[in-house]
């Protein structure tokens, strides 16, 4: 089955947030802080207000009314304090985009700058242990004696890996169009991954009851997490519209997106591993150092996959956070698992090399019976089968483990492997199923950000009802539809789908209408360790002359419950792996130590994979039956594809060159740098 909305997407008719035709819409353009810390002494809008078409300037000189407990990133123009360079401190509103942009440029801001601190270091004096890490895990865990385990090990590894600031960079810039009606009800066309939670946050920020706000997001041009929580552009559109009495559109520029739509925290990760002579882990310690802003605490759960992956009698994980004069980091595809598994799976490769054991075999030997940290049984776990199947397909048995010995002309050739994992959870959702004109209408405030939610929910409903998919119509992307959780955490399909199944079941009983709310059902889910697993294999060619790394082959083998739609699943997996290739080789935002803020704030400098970077990326999966998940038996697949890719590529680079590069991205400069 092709994507339900395929035709509107290829004909240019799919409407994204900025594109709704709204009569009399004005445009707001933000002014951003040029200092990283200090105060806004004065905002002088006089010149801007005299310019053609200008309708108003918003700033702290006349703070708009917001709820007193608004989130620090959304409390626009409430305080003179500056928390980071690039923060929104004013905005110009005008009749056209060109006039608004010119007026914003003419707003004069006087600052009282203070010394800033934007550098993450593992010895930063401000590091502390957060209460919990995202979304709600303990910051630290420990069982067994790590020091004793390391002392008795036949082989040990003590390594530090770093990952840089990464930006989601969906192709659609964040945009919102806000309209207030005569009754004071607000409508926001917004690029969001969740209309219901976005409505709640916007209403809460403005001090309105949620019933007075509606959010519509029928098509969303990607998000990967950065549209998962409400962003300041949406609040700005609402405030500007209220101020000038007209609908207002805000479309962030690509550069502004780098500043105010979240990013993946940089990490410094220390791994200490010990193994006995057979390669069985005696100790595993994973400590992650990360940053957040002074406004909001966001602690990425980087070390948490170590709690799930391997059997180790001594296991310690810890997170330390420092609050810097930077923007607040946020969700980017597989927060926690993605950077954490990069470091863990790279360190495991180092252990395999040090112990002289094949890296596939080493992982198999450390397969746990129950989840190592919690002791819970797995609902299903097929990591070993993924590794074995991947090894077979990839031709792993022909691999010579010796690093740096295969050369074809200028090209050094190598292969690498890494494991993947991602939690399989679900959240409460509502849905309604009704009969309309002999067909079936499914309503749920889900979001299709490119995952294929419309299509998969259509299939789920059709299968439950026992009808052809073309008799099912799914409405989503509107907070006036039944409440639904965000498209995030690889939980969308599991959460919305559960509600759709229940609604369809009820419709079949009464023949007219089914209404479902899965709150009670989800609350009684048995306590089990629920995770998807996978294995990724990479072949690289590294130029001995230029240091360029090419990736001729990437293979992912996944075990993620029942795959509900093979075409959509493959696209999700290979899309995640492609983003993982970018993380491995090119993606990096620099932090400007001198002035604060970010450097490389555009797509010419922040490189994401282009078509020529991506050759043969293939994803396959194992049939996996798991009755303990949800009525469909699926595990989420939106994120696991990016987990492990960077490690597989890094391990392959080591196999090709003999160089172990522990700081992402693996650039030509690092390949060619003299060995330390």
């Amino acid at each position: 089955m092709n994507r339900v909305e395929g035709r509107v997407k290829v004909t240019g008719l799919a409407t994204y947030a900025a594109e709704y035709p709204v009569e009399g819409v004005a445009h707001a353009y933000p002014v951003q802080s040029l200092i990283a810390k200090g105060r806004v002494a004065r905002v002088d809008a006089s010149q801007a207000l005299d310019m053609p078409g200008v309708l108003g300037v918003l700033s702290v000189e006349d703070p708009p009314q917001l709820a007193p407990d608004a989130d620090g990133e959304l409390a626009l123009f409430q305080s003179r304090d500056v928390a980071y360079r690039g923060q929104l401190i004013a905005a110009a509103v005008a009749d056209t985009y060109e006039n608004a942009r010119a007026a914003a440029d003419a707003v004069r801001v006087e600052y009282e700058p203070a010394d800033h601190d934007v550098g993450l270091r593992a010895d930063h004096p401000g590091l502390y242990r957060p209460e919990v890490v995202n979304p709600n895990y303990p910051a630290d865990t420990e069982h067994g004696d790590v020091e004793a385990g390391l002392a008795e090990a036949a082989t040990t590894v003590d390594v530090t890996y770093t990952t840089p600031v990464l930006h989601n960079n969906p192709m659609e810039p964040h945009a919102a169009v806000a309209l207030w009606d005569a009754e004071g009800r607000l409508l926001v066309y917004n690029s969001t991954q969740g209309a219901s939670p976005d409505r709640d946050t916007i209403a809460g920020t403005l001090g309105l009851p949620p019933s007075r706000v509606r959010v519509v997001a029928r098509h969303v041009g990607g998000g990967f997490g950065c549209k998962g929580s409400t962003r300041p552009h949406a609040v700005l559109a609402a405030l500007a519209s209220r101020a000038v009495g007209r609908p207002v559109k805000v479309v962030l520029t690509r550069q502004q997106m780098f500043d105010v739509t979240g990013y993946r925290t940089p990490t410094i990760q220390r791994l200490r591993l010990g193994a006995d002579a057979e390669g069985r882990l005696t100790a595993l310690e994973h400590v992650a150092y990360e940053q957040s802003s002074t406004l909001v605490e966001f602690a990425e759960q980087t070390a948490t996959p170590a709690r799930t992956m391997y059997a180790a009698p001594a296991l310690r994980t810890a997170h330390r956070l420092v609050r810097l004069d930077v923007a607040t980091p946020s969700w980017m595809r597989a927060p926690g698992e993605c950077p954490g598994m990069y470091a863990l799976e790279s360190a495991l490769d180092e252990l395999a090399c040090a112990a002289g054991i094949d890296p596939v075999e080493l992982r198999v030997r450390n397969e746990p019976e129950t989840e190592p940290e919690s002791g819970l049984p797995f609902s299903s776990r097929n990591l070993v089968a993924c590794l074995r199947e991947g090894a077979r397909r990839f031709g792993w048995d022909r691999r010579d483990p010796e690093p740096g010995v295969r050369r074809e002309g200028e090209w050094l050739v190598g292969t690498g492997v890494a494991a993947s994992t991602y939690p399989a959870r679900r959240r409460p959702s509502q849905a309604v199923a009704t009969v309309r004109n002999g067909d079936f209408l499914i309503q749920v405030a889900a979001a299709d950000i490119g995952t294929g939610a419309r299509t998969v929910l259509t299939r789920i409903a059709a299968e439950t009802l026992g009808v052809a998919p073309d008799r099912v119509h799914v409405e989503l992307g509107d907070s006036d539809l039944p409440d639904a959780p965000v498209a995030g955490g690889s939980m969308g399909t599991a959460s919305w789908g559960s509600a759709v199944v229940r609604a369809c079941e009820e419709l079949m009983k009464n023949g007219k209408e089914g209404r479902a709310d899965t709150t009670d059902e989800v609350a009684t889910d048995a306590e089990l360790a629920r995770h998807a697993f996978g294995a990724q294999f990479a072949e690289v060619r590294v130029s001995a002359v230029t240091g360029e790394v090419r990736v001729p082959r990437l293979l992912g083998v996944f075990a993620a419950g029942r795959i509900l739609d093979a075409g959509l699943a493959r696209s999700q997996f290979i899309g995640g792996m492609t983003m993982g290739l970018g993380m491995a080789l090119m993606e990096e935002t620099l932090t400007d130590e001198e002035f604060g803020g970010f450097l490389r704030r555009d797509l010419a400098q922040y490189h994401v994979p282009a078509c020529a970077d991506v050759a043969d990326v293939e994803a396959v999966w194992l049939e996996e039956e798991d009755d303990a998940l949800n009525p469909m038996g699926n595990k989420g697949i939106g994120e696991i594809g990016i987990v492990g890719t960077a490690a597989a590529i890094g391990n392959a680079v080591h196999h090709a060159t003999g160089r172990r590069i522990r700081d992402l991205p693996i650039t030509p400069a690092k390949i060619l740098a003299p060995s330390p």
């Binding site: 395929g6 192709m171 078509c611 991506v614």
Partner: protein, 162 residues
């Protein structure tokens, strides 16, 4: 300033701000939202349209400079209800996810198929190359897809190029 241009075969006369890009003219003034803005700086290809038959980043063209031009946007690729072969192939190969880069990919591919001559990866620059997957990847690298649909984009284009 008044300019007149052909957009998808229809003559349009518009009064434009001299600072306005062709992309903003299409999206904000003519209601043709198919052309997308991903960067506004010529770095992503989401805004690709055909200008007098050649692919171009419409964010880098000032609207006033387009007086007298013939513009084809993604809305103009299909022949009535009948999809352009590239559009049909994109659907069949699942060559998109969020769809935001897609109009640019389609216009770029449509332009690319008509472009003769070698590229940076052509082995013999004196011979017009076949559109191998490698040639397609090279020629389509001005169009970023963050959803990572490249593998499917290349197979969709390759099917049409055959």
């Amino acid at each position: 300033m008044d300019i007149t241009l052909q957009v998808n075969g229809l003559p349009r006369t518009v009064d434009v701000d001299p600072r306005m890009s062709l992309l903003d003219l299409l999206r904000e003034r003519l209601g043709l939202i198919g052309s997308k803005k991903g960067c506004d700086h010529g770095q992503c290809g989401a805004c690709t349209v055909l200008v007098d038959g050649r692919r171009a980043n419409s964010c880098l063209a000032l609207a006033v400079a387009m007086d007298g031009s013939e513009i084809t946007t993604v809305e103009g690729l299909a022949n009535g209800d009948e999809l352009h072969p590239l559009q049909a192939a994109f659907i069949e190969h699942d060559a998109f996810q969020c769809g935001y880069c897609t109009p640019g990919q389609l216009c770029s591919a449509a332009g690319m198929l008509g472009e003769p001559g070698p590229s940076a990866v052509t082995p013999d620059v004196l011979v017009d190359p076949d559109l191998t997957p490698e040639e397609i990847r090279e020629r389509m690298s001005g169009n970023l897809c963050r959803c990572g649909a490249y593998v499917n984009i290349v197979s969709a284009i390759a099917e049409v190029a055959r």
